[in-house]
Amino acid sequence: MPELVFLLMAAVAVVSALGVLVVRDIFRAALCLIVLFMTVAGVYVLLHADFIAVVQVLVYVGAISVLIIVAIMLTRDARQGQPLGNLKYVAGAVAFLLLAVIVYSVITTAFTLSESAPLEETVKPLGKLLFGDPGYLLTVQIAAVLLLSAILGAIAVIREK
């Protein structure tokens, strides 16, 4: 059963990612992107990462897609549906080569898989890991400073002179 769910979600994810590239109307491309974000959240649930799945829905589907849609609306009168740049064939070749290399190395590498069962719920251990003593507390604080400086930088860049 998880295999079927995975195949379905992988198919939807790849199709909607291609939709972001192919769809002419940029607003519809943004809607394709939201579908992609939701299926990625589903993949996280399949991987027993419940907290990350919720954060994915909150941050990506909730915040980032709204930011992107606001950006689309504020630049509405710009020319729609620009054709692909003239790098199309080179980029396609590079992308295909990269995909082949990654898939080859993934298939031929012998990963040392762990036998232990995944955690039933990850919220509490994640909180302990992020805020506990042998944990990532300093990194959390640096991330907070990064977010603050990103907000200030965005305001400073966008302000009318």
């Binding site: 972001v20 590239l21 950006a71 620009q82 692909l84 990103a150």
Partner: protein, 104 residues
Amino acid sequence: MLTLGLVHFLILSAVLFVIGLFGVITQRNVIKVIMCLEIMLNAVNIALIAFSQYIVPTALTGQVFALFVMVVAAAEVAVGIAIIFSIYRSRESVDMENFNILKW
């Protein structure tokens, strides 16, 4: 019938990453470039969480990394869209061809 394993998640991640990369190189609309960047970051997150789940299932290291990637992605989108607005105001365009202010 296949049994779901690490390899499948990694291949899904690789496919999404490559689609995003192709988009970043070829798209002309700069908002679409940002959308493709988001696809790439999501692909990396899938790989991180899959590794975390299959190799160190009780340590959750990859999930912590994925959380920090999300923080950086949010900051990146905010600053990126601010820069797009700022250039759009002076150039009246979101086409990559016109974003050559820094070109020497």
